[in-house]
């Protein structure tokens, strides 16, 4: 019964002449679809990466997230709170109009307040005032010193002043999707694809591809199959299980870069008794995670190289801190904690817990590469340490709300849990500020500090660092804060995953650490 339709399909298929794509066209398979064509609607990688083709930011980030001139040709720091920018001359929008300071002003006015936006660009824009000097020169004045000015300006694209008051629907329909970027909006089929064509008069030179089609193929095996069958030319987020096989395929080329993401365990530090840790007989005990020796033991008992080799299939590197060492503001002294089971057992005994305890560890399922498997492996490693560990993987829709506010009184619920964090700004201060600074709503610090770690010394260094405009000084302060927090085991870092792309053999890949899939990163060899 299965055979009949298949034979029919074969006949139909054989009779058809497959339409082959033009050599200059490229079809890219991404893992998640964008929620809109409005560049300022939703600050989310699947949206941002598509928007980057059409709308360009003032400052670019290269494939390693280092800042470089974009629509702003040059800049200088006038004083601690004033930056002066000079725009690229002779830049034109897709509709032929000139790009000037007024477009920058219009963008900064629109981007933070798009109606119904679920995640706006306000964090990068609030507190910035623009002062026009001439058509190609302007100043940005901030309320407090802002060393991350450039990194923040690199996060959002510039729209034409004509489209300042256009609604998100007008961008989705393409009417307002007019930018200065290397590719022009051609078609958006919600839930299926975005098609863009070459902007022949792009200021940066002629773009490489005639037509770019970005298709959302959510299912990992299907995305790989679509590449193998030639339906797609490039795919992002190659599943780790397929990497070795694809590397052996002579028709394909792979490219990977260490990502700006760290996968780590957060530990409950705000409760004297933590809900998911009990004595072996089930009775309540004081929260052992408040004991440095216990935290050290947990970190030492994790066999990071094994997780990287066996579970991530080599597609990761053991982690020592919040952001990979190649980024500014990281500590060059820190090394991933070495696996030492006997040492860990000794520390646990010294902490007065030679018989261990019973605990449940939590993590999301399907949010990060192999997240549930890593959680299981960590559970097994801690069982070998002599703990009685249960593992609970939760769908991310539920995990993040429970991990943030699920406990009694709206505090984080879990005791020891796996999370990931990526440094979107391409440096360390945002990570330190969000993950490890004391949770303080009024100051906007520690927003992602779901363990509620608190160390006055780290807070002090962080506060000074985020107001220090001098790069070298700031980075030294951040490295110091990181070293203190890591010596205190504020988090238990596991690994930094690799971002891997696969493409047809004749396409050269420039892999990016920020996980963005851009047609500009691919060229015909």
């Amino acid at each position: 019964m299965v055979r009949l339709p298949v034979a029919g399909a074969a006949l139909v298929a054989a009779a058809l002449i497959t339409t082959s794509a033009q050599a200059q066209d490229v079809r890219i398979g991404v893992s998640a679809e964008p929620s809109s064509m409005d560049p300022h609607f939703h600050n989310l990688t699947p949206n941002n990466q598509i928007m980057r083709h059409i709308f360009e930011p003032l400052v670019f980030m290269d494939s390693r997230q280092a800042v470089k001139p974009g629509l702003a040709q040059s800049w200088k720091v006038v004083d601690d709170k004033t930056w002066e920018f000079k725009l690229q001359p002779n830049v034109k929008f897709h509709d032929g109009s000139d790009f000037t300071t007024d477009d920058v002003i219009a963008t900064l006015a629109r981007a933070p307040d798009v109606p119904k936006s679920p995640a706006s660009f306000a964090p990068y824009i609030r507190g910035k005032k623009v002062e026009k000097i001439d058509d190609l020169t302007f100043r940005i004045i901030t309320e407090t010193p802002n060393p991350l000015m450039l990194n923040q300006l690199a996060q959002f694209g510039i729209i034409s002043k004509k489209n300042k008051d256009m609604a998100t629907e007008d961008y989705n329909s393409g009417k307002a999707a007019v930018g200065t970027g290397p590719y022009k909006f051609a078609e958006y089929v919600a839930g299926d694809r975005v098609v863009m064509t070459r902007n022949d008069s792009h200021w940066g030179g002629k773009p490489a591809w005639g037509k770019v089609t970005i298709k959302a193929v959510k299912s990992d095996p299907t995305r790989v199959a679509a590449l193998l069958s030639g339906d797609l030319d490039i795919i992002e987020t190659v599943p780790t299980a397929d990497v070795q096989r694809l590397k052996k395929d002579t028709r394909l080329a792979l490219g990977s870069a260490l990502s700006n993401r760290v996968i780590y365990f957060h530990l409950d530090r705000h409760r004297a008794e933590t809900p998911y840790i009990k004595a072996r007989d089930g009775s309540a005990i004081r929260n052992p995670l408040n004991d440095l020796k216990v935290r050290q033991a947990l970190s030492m008992a994790l066999n990071r190289p094994a997780i990287v080799e066996r579970i991530m299939e080599g597609e990761a590197e053991p982690a020592s801190q919040f952001v990979p060492e190649s980024y500014p503001g990281t500590s060059k002294k820190l090394k991933p904690t070495a696996f030492n089971l006997d040492g860990a057992k000794k520390l646990l005994a010294e902490a007065g817990l030679p018989n261990g305890f019973r605990m449940t560890i939590h993590g999301p399922n399907g949010r990060y590469a192999n997240d549930a498997k890593i959680l299981e492996a960590a559970g097994q490693m801690w069982s070998r340490l002599g703990l009685e560990v249960s593992v609970e993987s939760i769908p991310s829709a539920n995990f993040f709300s429970r991990a943030s506010t699920g406990g009694a009184g709206g505090v984080p619920e879990f005791s020891l849990f796996l999370v990931g964090w990526s440094a979107g700004t391409g440096e360390t201060s945002d990570s330190v500020k969000a993950l490890i600074a004391t949770f303080d709503r009024a100051a906007g610090m520690g927003a992602a500090n779901r363990g509620r770690y608190s160390n006055p010394k780290v807070d002090e260094l962080t506060r000074i660092a985020i107001a220090t405009v001098d790069d070298a000084k700031r980075n030294a302060l951040l490295a110091e804060a990181t070293e203190i927090a890591m010596a205190d085991i504020g988090i238990i870092p596991i690994h930094y995953p690799l971002n891997t792309w696969a493409a047809r053999k004749d396409i050269a890949i420039e892999p990016r650490s920020d996980e963005y899939t851009l047609a500009m990163s691919f060229k015909l060899k």
């Binding site: 019964m1 299965v2 055979r3 009949l4 339709p5 298949v6 399909a9 074969a10 139909v12 298929a13 054989a14 058809l16 339409t19 929620s35 809109s36 609607f41 939703h42 989310l44 119904k116 936006s117 679920p118 995640a119 706006s120 964090p123 990068y124 629907e169 989705n172 919600a190 839930g191 299926d192 694809r193 298709k215 959302a216 193929v217 959510k218 299912s219 095996p221 299907t222 199959a225 679509a226 193998l228 069958s229 030639g230 339906d231 797609l232 991310s396 829709a397 539920n398 995990f399 993040f400 709300s401 506010t405 990526s422 979107g424 945002d430 969000a434 906007g444 610090m445 927003a447 992602a448």
Partner: protein, 325 residues
């Protein structure tokens, strides 16, 4: 007839209201969408602002009142993720799903009925046994696995058919479809077959059971005695009599094809509303989930109505007023 339709509509409205109530409060128990939506760099105040913008800072019953107010104005709520009216997102993707379900249904009928009839009329023939054995496979193999295998074999290894997506779309009488071109048919074949697999097996079993029973009936013997050709006996007398259960089941199954094509659409990257539902569930896009349920319940009510009317066409003995009691 009119009284029947009115009564059915009333019942349908009640079912819709009950489902909306259950689903609205059900999805509100699971997680907090704010934590899925916000970007990690946001501060506590900015996160609270997002919750306020989306109305998520209100207690559930207040949110429900807002929702009811929206319904009164013909608005089922806006998607948190897309910022668009939820019903618009669903209707936008509906033609693709209807098209897929339609082709799957067609495959189920065209393949299922002849194969089932054959197996029913010659139950001991080896071919019949083969058909039944394969239909068991159709029942028991998981859809996602069969889908992946189809892609591996027909797209990757043989390269006959495209692995994913929907073909070029054209508009016929205002209806968006990809079925008018050969290219479009190539795209729809694998996903539709994958979606139809279970239904084909179902139809085979129904047709076989019906045919076996009907073949022994007096009217068949009489027809044979009268000297009618076997073709006429099978094609008219038996077929017509076994159609009632098949039409009932297919009607209901068409609803489930449309409503639950989630797995197939995800595997084949088919841009339909099933994938939208999956994303909505993963991102806790509550308005889309609720609107989807409303659409699907409406669809089922409508299909049941059509099936009941078809009954009376197929079997004049059935009166509509009776079936509803």
């Amino acid at each position: 007839m009119l009284a029947f339709i009115l009564r059915r509509t009333g019942q349908g409205l009640f079912v819709i209201a009950a489902m909306v109530l259950i689903v609205f409060f059900g999805v509100n128990v699971i997680g907090d969408p704010v934590w899925i939506l916000v970007s990690p760099e946001m501060t506590q105040d900015q996160i609270a602002e997002v919750a306020r913008n989306l109305g998520l800072d209100q207690p559930v019953h207040v949110q429900f009142l807002h929702f009811l107010k929206g319904i009164a104005e013909g608005d089922l709520g806006r998607s948190f993720v897309h910022g668009q009216p939820a019903i618009k997102l669903i209707l936008e993707r509906m033609p693709a799903t209807l098209e897929l379900a339609f082709v799957a249904l067609l495959l189920a009928i065209v393949l299922g009925i002849p194969l089932g009839l054959y197996a029913g009329l010659r139950p001991d023939h080896p071919l019949s046994r083969g058909i039944m054995a394969v239909s068991i496979l159709g029942f028991s193999l998981p859809t996602f696995w069969v889908g992946l295998m189809m892609i591996m074999v027909f797209a990757v290894m043989l390269g006959w058919l495209p692995a994913t997506g929907r073909g070029p779309v054209s508009h016929i009488f205002g209806i968006e479809t990809s079925l008018t071109s050969l290219e479009g048919l190539r795209y729809v074949l694998l996903p539709a077959l994958n979606l139809a697999l279970l239904k084909i097996s179902l139809v085979i079993r129904l047709a076989r059971a019906g045919a076996r029973e009907a073949a022994l009936q007096d009217y068949v013997k009489f027809a044979r005695a009268k000297g009618l050709s076997p073709r006429r006996i099978v094609g008219v007398h038996i077929l017509k009599n076994i159609m009632i259960p098949i039409v009932t089941v297919l009607g209901l199954e068409f609803g489930s094809l449309v409503a639950f094509s989630v797995v197939t659409e995800t595997i084949f990257a088919w841009p339909g509303m099933g994938r939208l539902l999956l994303e909505a569930i993963q991102r806790l896009d509550r308005p889309v989930i609720v609107a989807y349920v409303v659409v699907v319940v409406c669809l089922f009510v409508l299909i049941n109505l059509v099936v009941d009317i078809l009954y009376s066409v197929l079997d004049p003995r059935v009166r509509l007023s009776e079936t509803s009691s």
